[in-house]
Amino acid sequence: MKPWHAALLSLLLLAGCKRETRQARLDPAVAEAMDSVATLPIGINGRPPPVLLAMGEPYRSNAYQLSQGKRLYAWFNCQGCHTDGGGGSAPALMDGWWRYGPDAVSIFLSIRDGRPNGMPAFRERLTTEQIWQLTGYLQSLGATSSTAATPGRNDSMQTRPGENRVPSMSRLPSPHEGGP
């Protein structure tokens, strides 16, 4: 290997040291724009706020944002009903079946506005940004293909495969095969 090859290689390696950006502060105008989702009248499915796309969907792909979602999941006692994603008195969140649709907008609306039969509305308990962080984390729970970004590991024992082991199932059983 010639010296200049080595120099070039180390330059390339240095490029790998770039850290993922953590955006702690959201511009208030952006936060407000993130709240305006266009949805169907029945409250499921819809167009995500354009500002999310413009930001590069950080709540799906940024490890910091996913970790914040995981923290909020514990802090706001989501596991009280949904347990660690396996479902309890509320539906499971990791089996790939979503009552109100698997898309981000439906999940966002479920958290923000609540759903019949017990899901409370968190509109006045969480900020819009926090609801999007939770939404991104929930989508990673039910993901069937792995992504580059995952939240931090649990400190305690895992009751299910870690988020960094997604997909938690290789294939979903269809209803004909005894699936849900």
């Binding site: 702690a24 502060r25 959201l26 407000e32 969480l126 940004e129 926090q130």
Partner: protein, 328 residues
């Protein structure tokens, strides 16, 4: 040189104050202070002696005759032997002094006042336990202790490793998740001392401070009784509106104000927030302006902390800051 002599008093002035191990205000800190000077002076003397011997060796002329060379060899053997013996003695002496000081500061005191301290990223939860649950006091970021009475701080951490250090009163002790440590110390003189998290714990580690207020026992009991009371009632329409906003917005999801509907347990207890000297773990002095600035934009003041920016109108912000200022 003249400039240096003018700078020296300035440098020494940095060694006293509300966060300095060189300004001890309690027996534990006194022991550590003695140990510090013992080590510093001993090591300085040894360093000077070694430098002198080195200088002598450099300037020495080679011996002229064979007899003189033999005499020099015997002399240097004696010098080396003496130095080895001195090293053994000094190391043993310092070890013993260190053992004595450590034993003195780690003695348990059964009649000590117990305070539980729990570190979070990046603030401190303070509990004064009592056998009667309604006398148990929960507060944050500021501890009050009576002078002349030993205090046992039971240390824990909620997320990552932190470390509790009040240089004026005692040495450091780590706060480790899943493990309980404790630290006993006494404050002899009344005063406000600053404590600092002494274990790197993330982005805002430098902004994780705690204030220790040592006061005479009667003043401490008065403080304790006042803190146990519920939050003061709003006194005008603006403060009333502030309480309504605090109860109905996201504030109540994380914070507790005893006597209102706000009962979250994720952030610091705000029942008497305005009675504390600083907010946000030692970042800003408690004034209406800094309370409003903190609520309006916590991520600009302390980026990465867990308090989100809650969208409030200007009137709501005014009202909340008025109500928080009432919470004395």
């Amino acid at each position: 040189m003249k400039r240096a002599s003018r700078l020296l008093p300035l440098l020494l002035a940095g060694c006293s104050g509300w966060q300095s191990a060189l300004d001890p205000r309690g027996p534990s800190a006194q022991d550590l202070h003695g140990l510090f000077w013992l080590f510093t002076i001993t090591c300085t003397v040894i360093w000077l002696a070694v430098m002198l011997v080195l200088l002598a060796a450099l300037l020495r002329r080679p011996p002229a005759t064979k007899g003189a060379a033999e005499a020099a060899g015997r002399r240097s053997a004696r010098v080396v032997g003496g130095a080895v013996a001195a090293t053994v003695l000094v190391v043993a002496g310092l070890t013993f002094a260190s053992y004595l000081a450590t034993r003195a500061i780690s003695s348990d005191q059964p009649e000590a006042l117990v305070i539980r301290l729990r570190g979070y990223q990046w603030w401190w939860e303070v509990t004064y336990p009592h056998e009667q649950p309604d006398q148990t006091l929960l507060t944050a970021n500021e501890i009050h202790i009576p002078t002349g009475r030993p205090v046992r701080i039971e240390l824990a951490a909620a997320d990552v490793i932190h470390s509790f250090w009040v240089p004026n009163l005692t040495g450091k002790q780590d706060m480790i998740p899943g493990r309980s440590n404790s630290l006993v110390f006494t404050a002899e003189k009344p005063g406000t001392y600053r404590a600092q998290c002494a274990e790197f714990c993330g982005l805002q580690h430098a902004h994780m401070a705690l204030h220790v207020v040592a006061e005479p026992p009667e003043a401490f009991e008065r403080w304790r009784t006042a803190q146990l009371a519920e939050a003061p009632a709003p006194e005008d329409a603006e403060e009333e509106e502030g309480r309504r906003v605090l109860e109905s917005k996201a504030c109540a999801a994380c914070h507790t104000v005893r006597g209102t509907e706000a009962a979250g347990n994720l952030g610091p207890d705000l029942t008497h927030v305005a009675s504390r000297r600083f907010i946000a773990a030692g970042m800003l002095p408690t004034t209406r302006g800094s309370l409003a600035a903190w609520v309006a934009d916590p991520q600009s003041i302390k980026p990465g902390n867990n308090m989100p920016m809650v969208s409030l109108t200007a009137d709501e912000l005014q009202a909340v800051s008025a109500y928080l200022t009432r919470l004395r």
